[in-house]
Each structure stands twice: as C-alpha cells, then as structure tokens.
C-alpha cells in the first residue's frame, strides 16, 4: 500500500473512532446530570447526551466536525489530574495543580465513585470521558501500526495523521469562527471538554475581551502543541503494533 493511502487510513480510523466513541459515551451517560459538562454541546437543551449530540450534529455540522477533528488535541493529563466532582457535576478544575490540591483525574474518580460506592453516579460519566479520551487514540495507534509496512513508517504515519487532523481542525475552526462569531461562549462548551488548556487562552482573550483573533490564535497554539505531543505518544503504540514488520 502506498504511503499516502496508509496515512489516509490512519486519519479515517481516528475520525471514525472519535465519532463511534462519542456514541458509546452517549449510551453510558444517558440523561445522568453528572455528565452534563461532558455533553454541554452549544445550543442544545435536550435531556439526554444522545439528543444533545445529534442536535449539535444537525444544527451546527461544521462546528461538530471541528469538534471531532480537534479531538486529536485532547489532554491525556486529565487521566490523573485536573478533573474533579464539583457539586453534582464531573468537570475540570482549572488550577496550577500542585499535587495534593483538589484536582483528581478520571482514574482516581472512577476508583472513588466506583459502582459499589455510596455515590456511584459519577462513575459512568467518568468512564465515558475516559473512553472518549483514550479510545480514538488507541484505535488510531493500532490501525496506524497495522497498515504500515515497517516500524519507521508506522511511527511517521501516526504522527503525520495527528498533525494533519489537527491542522484540519485549526482551519475548520477558523472558518467556523469567521462564519458564526457571536462570542467565545457560543463555541466554548463543546471543545472545552477536550482540553482544559483552551480555558486559559479563551479566558484571557475571549471572555474578558471577546476577541476573535485572540480566540483563534489561542486555540491554534493549544491544538498544535497537544497534537504534536499526542502524536508522539500514540506513535509509540503504532511502533509496538508494527514491531514484527
């Protein structure tokens, strides 16, 4: 298979698995209020995650696809920090979090609010979030390794796939913002679930002074940095899968 075809298959694997894991998350969260942060798609007031998601897809398809492509820029750190239970919700706790402070992360939350605990209501949203976070990455890493001809190709393909998807996401984000700019809050809630680092840029450039250019620059910087780091990490999975080639 030609190199370009390998990269394309890896890209499609990410996009398809990101959508598939969104639906799996929808099934796991349902109408659980604890998962409201996870399903806070803009302009959707329905009760269940699935209705909100499908509503987002149909009413703002470009925004939804931007959200899917920017999925490569998710922050793997929230596995162990930066997420906690605030009131009835599972959500980010933006802080410079020296350990011992509040942020806990998805795995400690799943341990604390396990299905047999006194308050298991947070377990399923945490599991859904974890699957949405690592599921597409692992699938992409495996597919990237499986379709490559050699270890070196596997690594390059996966890394390139991450970079290409992130750049597509950045471009789509720019188009989307210029087509629909109302305020930062309008787009805030969907992409916010992907990476707390967006909060900081939007916080200073967007909400305080609603600034379209600042928003685009902030989002693009975060997206590129995290795409490179995630690409490096996941390319190791591809190398492991392709190690016998």
């Amino acid at each position: 298979m030609k190199r370009i075809a390998q990269i394309l298959i890896t890209i499609v694997a990410f996009l398809a698995s990101a959508i598939a894991f969104d639906f799996i998350a929808a099934l796991l969260v349902g109408d659980n209020i604890a998962g409201a942060f996870l399903s806070a798609f803009p302009g959707q007031a329905q009760l269940t995650y699935l209705d909100r998601y499908i509503g987002f897809m149909s009413s703002d398809t470009l925004g939804w696809f931007t959200y899917i492509t920017l999925g490569v820029t998710q922050d793997l750190e929230i596995i162990a920090g930066g997420v906690t239970v605030i009131g009835p919700l599972l959500m980010y706790t933006p802080a410079i979090s020296l350990p011992g402070a509040t942020p806990q992360g998805l795995i400690p939350i799943m341990m604390e609010y396990h299905p047999w605990s006194s308050t298991p209501v947070y377990f399923m949203p945490a599991l859904a979030w974890l699957l949405k976070l690592i599921g597409p990455f692992i699938v992409t890493g495996i597919v990237g390794g499986a379709v490559a001809k050699a270890k070196k190709d596997a690594m390059g393909n996966t890394f390139l796939a991450f970079l290409v998807i992130a750049i597509a996401g950045i471009v789509l984000n720019i188009v989307h913002v210029y087509m629909n700019w109302i305020s930062v809050a309008w787009k805030f809630s969907a992409t916010l679930t992907q990476n707390p680092a967006y909060v900081y840029f939007w916080g200073i450039y967007g909400i305080l002074t609603p600034d379209m250019l600042g928003y685009i620059i902030g989002t693009s910087i975060v997206a590129l940095v995290f795409a490179v780091i995630n690409g490096l990490i996941i390319s190791i999975i591809s190398v492991i899968v392709a190690r016998k080639k």
Partner: protein, 175 residues
C-alpha cells in the same frame, strides 16, 4: 554499570533542579531558601511536586497568567519548573546511559529513576498528612486513596513522555 548510570543521573538531576526551581520560587516570593528543608511536607514536595504536576496544563495556564502579570516571578518559576527538571533529567539521563546501546536500558533506567524518586516523595507526603491534620475529603475515600494513584499515574505519564523523547534523542546512530 548498565542501568545504574542513567538511573542515578536522572535522579540526581531531577532532585537538584527541583531544589533549584522551588528554591528560586520561594526566594523570589520573599521567603527563605532554607524553608525548603524545614519539615517533611516541603521535603517530600521537592521529590514529587514537579513530577506529579499536570505539566502541560500548568505551562499553558501559567503562560497566560504571566502575560497578564509579567513581573510575577513565582509564575515564571512554575512554568520553568513544570518542564525543565523532568525534561533535563530524562534527556541527560538517557545520554548518560547511551553507551549501554540498549533501548531497554536507556528507557527503563531514566523512567524508573523518575518513578522511584516520585514514589518516595508521594509516600512521605501521605505519611506526613496525619501530622498536618489532612483527613477525609470526599465520599468515603480518604485523601491518600485518590492522591496516591493519581500522583503516581501523572508521574508515569510525564516520565513516559520525557523518557520517550530522551530515547528518540539518543536513537541516532543506532543503525
């Protein structure tokens, strides 16, 4: 001497740089450098704080804060401290272990070096909590029951990324 060299170099560098950056942050805020070594709480933080920190998120947040307040020394130290001690320990540890010529030794010596030092710090911190009066936080789990795995997983993520980068840097010329 395989393994030992990278293991010790990464530990020594991390601890040294951690003392440097945490010391600079304290001195910059008007505190005394010696306070770093007063009490188990601060000593344990020297061992694990930067390693178990969500470094990328911290860097982004601190950068934004620093743009808003460019004279705040402690924020600058938070940015540098989140990255430099662990990055330099992993990369220079990998270079020290390079002569072993083994991917396994290069990666494991630095990765385990960083994990061991963080684990010691985290365990010391947990042991210290009764003296500090830290008790139950939420639900029925005690503080340490989420802190211990959370801090160890975060350390593993950070160490994995930087040690992998160290491995890539040393990979030239392996053939």
């Amino acid at each position: 001497m395989k393994f030992i060299k990278g293991f010790l170099v990464s530990i020594a560098l991390y601890v040294g740089l951690s003392i440097l950056f945490q010391g600079l942050a304290i001195v910059g805020a008007g505190g005394a450098f010696e306070s770093l070594f007063l009490g188990l709480d601060s000593i344990s933080r020297l061992l694990y704080a930067y390693l178990a920190d969500p470094a990328l998120t911290t860097v982004f947040r601190a950068t934004v804060l620093y743009i808003a307040a460019p004279t705040d020394w402690s924020i600058l130290m938070a940015i540098l401290g989140s990255v430099l001690p662990i990055a330099l320990a992993a990369v220079l540890g990998s270079l020290a272990e390079r002569k072993s010529g083994s991917v396994k030794y290069i990666f494991l010596s630095t990765f385990l070096g960083l994990m061991v030092i963080a684990a010691v710090g985290i365990i010391l911190q947990v042991l210290n909590w009764p003296a500090l009066g830290v008790t139950l936080t939420t639900n029925h789990y005690e503080h340490w029951e989420w802190f211990l795995p959370g801090a160890l997983i975060m350390t593993a993520l950070n160490a994995f990324v930087w040690c992998a980068i160290g491995l890539f840097i040393t990979s030239k010329g392996w053939g």
